[in-house]
């Protein structure tokens, strides 16, 4: 005799502790088994792209802060690179070095949040606070430099809003020395924890071809074993001068492309970012960081598309200029948006608890998805 069961629809979010913002997941479940997942987005829509059309090019910069609010430096960077391409201007060396250092520091900070909240999703509260404590030190460096802790408006078109302060080099070096051992601590506390591995290995396996077909990028793509990093494959700024590795998922504890791989790739990327900073910090040339900022930003009519490697993945800015001081159209390719689209594919057949683990491993930021 078969038991008659009924499917249940469960709305996870928009108010839910682990949807990483205001995301609503519509789960179709049978008991605890998930049959289908449908993400509903748009709760944080702020009309960024439309707003940008009514503003001058420099005025758009603070709005890019609010895309991926955990990696504002990288968003500023991406936008600045796009407009500079449109303008066709040369950037001083000093600015490039500082931009790279800031971007990598911000990448570490963003990954710290990703890893910490991932532990939180799995139920480990303590590593989250350890990583948040260390993120504060990075924010202290940023605050000392540009006055803001989260939304910097630091990287301007053609330059920077402030020069680095006199203790900057010392602070960054001290941080690198401080943070290296902490990564081992987090590894021992969380990454190599048997329960954590059991919860994440072989969960939400994303094969490389599926990842490529969906257009995934960043640690999500690299977790599936695809060696693709724009800093190496399509270098922008001065990234081609630094020596660093691209960590890829190798199926350390299960299948290539499972949640643990995506998690651990982020862990390894922090080490690589530290390496880049170490190479750059001693070589910052002298100069004026605002010398190349145009008095009036009025690019010639035309289009430009640039992409940069954000902590979450490939952030693209497509800008159409009609020759006026306002951009005619700005389109953002948000990495989290693309990565989130994978969730229906990789969640099927898992348990409710796994949905949280998979969503956490994709590391989405709703500010960027809804724009």
């Amino acid at each position: 005799m078969a038991i008659r069961t009924e499917k249940m629809t469960l709305n996870m979010g928009p108010q839910h502790p682990s949807t990483h913002g205001v995301l609503r997941l519509e789960l179709e479940i049978e008991g605890e088994l998930v049959i289908n997942v449908k993400p509903h987005i748009g709760y944080l829509h702020r009309c960024f792209e439309k707003h940008a059309e009514a503003m001058t090019y420099p005025q758009v910069v603070p709005y890019t802060d609010r895309l991926d609010y955990l990696a504002s430096m990288s968003n500023n960077f991406g936008y600045a690179v796009a407009v500079e391409k449109l303008l066709g201007i040369e950037i001083p060396e000093r600015v490039e070095y500082i931009r790279v250092i800031m971007n990598e520091l911000n990448r570490i900070a963003s990954h710290q949040v990703a890893l910490g909240t991932y532990g939180l999703d799995i139920g480990a509260f303590t590593p989250f606070l350890y990583l948040f404590r260390d993120r504060e030190y990075i924010y202290d460096i940023f605050e000392k430099t540009c006055g803001a802790r989260l939304l910097y408006n630091y990287i301007w078109v053609g330059g920077l809003s402030h020069d680095i302060h006199q203790d900057f080099v010392k602070d960054v070096k001290a941080y690198i020395k401080y943070f290296r051992p902490i990564m081992d601590e987090v590894n021992n506390l969380l990454s190599y924890n048997k329960i954590f591995i059991e919860r994440t290995a072989n969960i939400g396996v994303l094969p490389a071809d599926v990842a490529l077909n969906y257009g995934a990028s960043g640690p999500v793509l690299r977790g599936s074993g695809v060696k693709w990093d724009l800093r190496k494959n399509d270098p922008y700024s001065i990234y081609d001068r630094f020596d660093f590795d691209i960590p890829v998922g190798q199926g350390w504890h299960g299948t290539v492309g499972d949640s643990w791989d995506r998690y651990y790739v982020r862990m390894l990327e922090m080490e690589q970012s530290l390496r880049i900073i170490e190479q750059a910090i001693d070589n910052i040339p002298d100069g004026d960081v605002q010398s190349a900022i145009p008095k009036r930003i009025k690019p010639p009519a035309g289009t430009a598309y640039t992409r940069v490697e954000n902590p979450k993945g490939e952030l693209g800015f497509f800008i159409i200029s009609d020759g006026s001081v306002n951009p005619a159209r700005i389109k953002v390719r948000a990495p989290s948006f693309v990565n989130l689209s994978l969730i229906g594919e990789i969640c099927r057949g898992h348990l409710v608890a796994d949905i949280i683990a998979i969503l956490g491993s994709l590391d989405i930021v709703l500010g960027e998805i809804d724009r």
Partner: protein
């Protein structure tokens, strides 16, 4: 205990009422201490300070929290099954509270000197499941329902390994009375069950490794029985918001909360009685040394509470260190590992005691 009170008061009914209310004298201050400990231990594990503002090092924080909870509106949604919804926290707390009736705090104070203390404890603690199921079902909330279902499966499964371990202790001691078990482990700490019991001989040394295994099994399953991390599936906040207690607010939520902490001590006390001498002092009594007889029971209460709270602290420590396992992994751990090990352990202990 009951006779002393009866002689003092002379009225049977009032005596019963007073005897029934006595555990509350312990539970309320204990819960305050435990919640304070939970917050402070968690804070220090996480490299922060925890509550610091209310009173010395935040020691009065709990009173502030309690006052806040009392003032909260008691929200009952329209589609709740009101009778069950109101009954659930009371039933859950009753289950946790009733367990204290048989806990021997000292040789002089046992709420009820029932001959079948262990049996009663195991039986009555299952009442909590009924309360949680009722709460989850009547809330008319899918998260609550999932939490309640998880909890039912979990608690029922984990009773089996813990009962198997209790059975092996019962086999050695030959009694179901918790007080008698404690009395058998009198003397110094090497007389505790975890070190093979009071009888010196070959049996004692053969028993020690198996006692350690038994202790680990019952401690793991006791964690699952009281829904603590890594087995806090029923209320897994990152998955099910707050599990079965999602829809509860104010004093009803406080009842669930109280029950959880009361249960934590009850299982810790059970572990203490089975393996760590119950109320017996590990180093002998000051009262015996000085010849002051009334001091001994007071010392016993001290040792019982200290040992119990020590295990509660270990539970807290684990909660803030470990991630949460998944529902199916939890079940696999129970049925594939704990129950077979407990069963084999039981058989070996049985054979050793026959030697």
């Amino acid at each position: 205990m009951h006779e002393i009170l009866n002689n003092l008061i002379g009225n049977e009914i009032i005596t019963f009422l007073i005897a029934a209310a006595l555990p509350l004298v312990f539970i309320v201050p204990y819960v305050m201490l435990a919640v304070y400990l939970e917050r402070k231990v968690a804070a220090h594990i996480q490299d922060r300070l925890g509550p610091m503002r209310v009173g010395w090092h935040g020691s009065l924080q709990l009173i502030a929290d309690f006052l806040k909870l009392v003032q909260k509106e008691d929200i009952i949604a329209d589609n709740n099954d009101k009778k069950l919804f109101n009954l659930a926290p009371i039933l859950t707390f009753a289950g946790a509270y009733a367990a204290y009736a048989v806990l021997p705090f000292s040789s002089a104070y046992i709420g009820s000197g029932a001959e079948v203390g262990v049996f009663f404890l195991v039986a009555i603690s299952s009442l909590v499941v009924a309360g949680i199921l009722m709460g989850g079902w009547s809330s008319n909330n899918k998260y609550s329902l999932l939490g309640a279902m998880r909890s039912a499966a979990q608690i029922v499964s984990y009773e089996i390994p813990s009962v198997l371990v209790i059975l092996s202790i019962v086999m050695i001691t030959g009694t179901l009375s918790l007080a008698e078990m404690s009395d058998m482990q009198t003397g110094y700490f090497w007389n505790w069950m975890i070190f093979g019991g009071a009888e010196i001989g070959l049996t004692k040394f053969l028993l020690i490794p198996f006692m350690f295994i038994a202790f680990i099994i019952i401690y793991i399953s006791s964690l699952a029985e009281v829904n603590r991390t890594p087995f806090d599936m029923p209320e897994a906040e990152s998955e099910l918001v707050a599990g079965y207690s999602t829809e509860y607010s104010g004093m009803k939520f406080a009842m669930f909360f109280l029950a959880e902490y009361a249960n934590m001590f009850a299982v810790s006390a059970l572990v203490t009685i089975l393996f760590f001498g119950g109320y017996q002092s590990p180093f002998g009594y000051v009262g015996n040394l000085l010849g002051i007889e009334w001091l001994v029971p007071i010392e016993q209460v001290f040792w019982f509470c200290t040992k119990g709270i020590l295990f509660v602290v270990v539970q807290i420590w684990l909660r803030w260190t470990l991630p949460r396992v998944r529902v199916d992994q939890l079940m696999a751990l129970c049925w594939k590992y704990l129950i077979p090990y407990a069963l084999v352990n039981l058989i070996i202990i049985g054979i050793i005691t026959l030697i």
